[in-house]
């Protein structure tokens, strides 16, 4: 196998045992990018010269025997993370040409851990969408079939990781933007608990749910990256002071006796192939000694996830209208005329629902239903260790599907919205393929700050299935 096909864990071992250098690894990734990105369009900005320089530096440190957690490992970073001296656009014309004077905390931490950044990946403009079709710089294609969408908003990172253009990647999720593209591209995507990873320097979408996280080829890779990213950041008042854990420590622990919840409400309107894969996943967990139980039988009632669409749409648009007010074209970026259609539409709805006379009917109502969703999850996790569901009601949809559907994203993300609204952690793992040979994702959700539990379940699932071993033919 070419070096770019390695997992993070394999790449790290290879570098430490001097089987290859970071420069060789980085060049293999760059070669793959050049061979495939005309087709995929995963990147907004490729930083080849920087990457080669970082790799040379990493090789020096490796030869000195330094052991940083991600030393010499190539990464791709979603283009809404500020990168000092490197254009950061959030895939919007508003930020075309904007060069941040500082690094996002996530980027600063990855750099301190020794990563080699290959470039900045495409996304829905300002992360508004679940397809990358709202990007002002073109649509990313799904590596499994380039006639299909990669999902989004972190679609560039998902496609890049799935196509072995990189060893690992970084995405961000507000409600689905890590898990859904990970599901549609057949990779692992971890959305941490809200507040576990700093939002400082991330182009904001909805400040009350934005959560940066790893997108990788294996569960263990995500655990290693979370080890680097997690923690309180003085620059982000909403980052949690709760102590972090060693997220890689308990991956291989037996899951015997673990109680996993399911709900028929998460299967309504879900495609047949996806339901089939989900039922197989249940059996896999049972085979491993876990109990899979319908939460209704435990007396836990939950709202139909469809209500989360309303809550999320109101809260997200409201926060967007407020957050995007900062783009005035005076201090940085272009003027407000440069906003694309989707951003304008979202700003308009948010402004409306927050305006005098409508605040109570929409915004306040959504915040109250949010309370119900939070409390239902709380009650659920008193009875079960984790909750599983399909990540998305469908596999990847054809190119063009989001056009003229103002709520495309909300519908595609209906099964991830409730846990996002509640700020809970969730992870997507590959769980099968549809009749069209498109990946199917399974999501595992847990209580706040229980990343260790869902990573353990995800790892044991991965170890006992083979879906993650398949690669797209490009």
């Amino acid at each position: 196998m070419d070096l770019n096909g390695l997992t993070l864990t394999e790449a790290k071992e290879g570098l430490l045992s001097k089987q290859f250098s970071s420069s060789e690894l980085t060049k293999a990734c760059l070669k793959r990018i050049k061979a495939t990105d005309e087709k995929l369009h995963a990147f907004v900005t490729l930083t080849e010269a920087h990457a080669l320089e970082d790799a040379r530096h990493a090789d020096e440190l490796l030869s000195e025997g330094q052991d940083l957690p991600l030393l010499g490992i190539p990464f791709v970073i979603k283009d809404n993370f500020s990168t000092k001296g490197i254009q950061t656009t959030a895939s919007s014309n508003v930020l075309r040409g904007y060069i941040p004077p500082f690094d996002a905390t996530v980027v600063a931490k990855l750099k301190a851990a020794g990563m080699v950044m290959l470039g900045k990946t495409n996304m829905d403009a300002f992360a508004h969408g679940s397809s990358t079709e709202t990007s002002d710089f073109g649509t990313t294609k799904n590596p499994w079939n380039t006639e299909f969408l990669p999902g989004g908003s972190s679609g560039g990172t998902a496609a890049s990781v799935a196509a072995d253009q990189t060893i690992a990647g970084i995405g961000s999720e507000t409600a689905g933007s890590i898990r859904q593209p990970a599901g549609w591209c057949g990779i692992v995507g971890l959305k941490p608990t809200y507040g576990r990873v700093s939002r400082y320097g991330v182009v904001t979408m909805a400040s009350s749910t934005d959560s940066p996280g790893p997108m990788t080829k294996r569960v263990e890779d995500s655990a290693l990256v979370l080890n680097v990213l997690a923690g309180k950041d003085p620059h982000d008042g909403t980052s949690s002071p709760k102590p972090t854990k060693d997220y890689a420590a308990n991956l291989k622990k037996s899951i015997k006796g673990k109680k996993i919840g399911i709900s028929s409400k998460y299967l309504e309107g879900v495609e047949g192939d996806v339901v089939k894969a989900f039922n197989e996943a249940k059996k896999t967990f049972e085979k491993l000694g876990a109990t899979v139980v319908d939460i209704a039988s435990l007396g836990v009632d939950i709202l139909d996830p469809k209500y989360s669409i309303g809550v999320y749409t109101i809260l997200q648009r409201a926060e967007v209208s407020s957050n995007l007010a900062r783009f005035d074209g005076i201090r940085f970026g272009q003027t407000r005329d440069a906003f694309g259609e989707e951003a304008k539409r979202r700003i308009m709805l948010g402004t409306y629902t927050l305006s005098a006379g409508y605040y109570d009917a929409y915004y306040k109502k959504a915040l109250k239903v949010r309370t119900i969703i939070v409390s239902e999850f709380h009650k659920m996790f008193e009875k079960v260790d984790a909750f599983i569901a399909p990540t998305s009601p469908s596999t990847a949809l054809p190119l063009g599907s989001s056009k003229n559907h103002p709520m495309f994203g909300e519908m595609a993300d209906v099964l991830v919205e409730p846990s996002s609204i509640a700020g809970l952690p969730g992870i997507n793992v590959p769980a099968g393929f549809s009749s069209k040979n498109l990946p199917i994702g399974l999501q595992i959700m847990g209580p706040q700050f229980a990343e260790d539990i869902i990573l353990n379940l995800a790892h044991e699932f991965e170890t006992n299935t083979e879906w993650h071993l398949q690669k797209p033919q490009l």
Partner: protein, 93 residues
């Protein structure tokens, strides 16, 4: 429901074309109809949730630290003068 698109666009500081106004008017109406389904959920006596972290009034120690240099802070501005951002006048003489 009828949204006063021109008023909302003014509040949002957006300049919309006639076509955009027509299109958004229809789309926003549709979206509002979809989210009306929230009214099926009983929220009597339910408090609002604005944040899920449980953190309130997060304060920092007031210690001066190095921050952006003036030249870096101004580097992305289209128009600067004497080390300051140039903005439209908001007060007339």
């Amino acid at each position: 429901m009828k949204i006063d698109i021109t008023h909302i666009a003014k509040l949002a500081n957006l300049t919309l074309s006639k076509e955009e106004k027509e299109r958004f008017s229809k789309q926003l109406d549709d979206t509002l109809t979809t989210i009306q389904q929230l009214n099926e959920v009983n929220t009597d006596n339910i408090e609002i949730t604005s944040q899920v972290t449980g953190l309130e009034n997060v304060l920092d120690d007031d210690i001066p630290q190095p921050s952006l240099q003036q030249k870096d802070a101004l580097a992305n501005a289209k128009s600067t003068k004497n080390g300051l951002f140039v903005v439209k006048a908001i007060l007339e003489e």
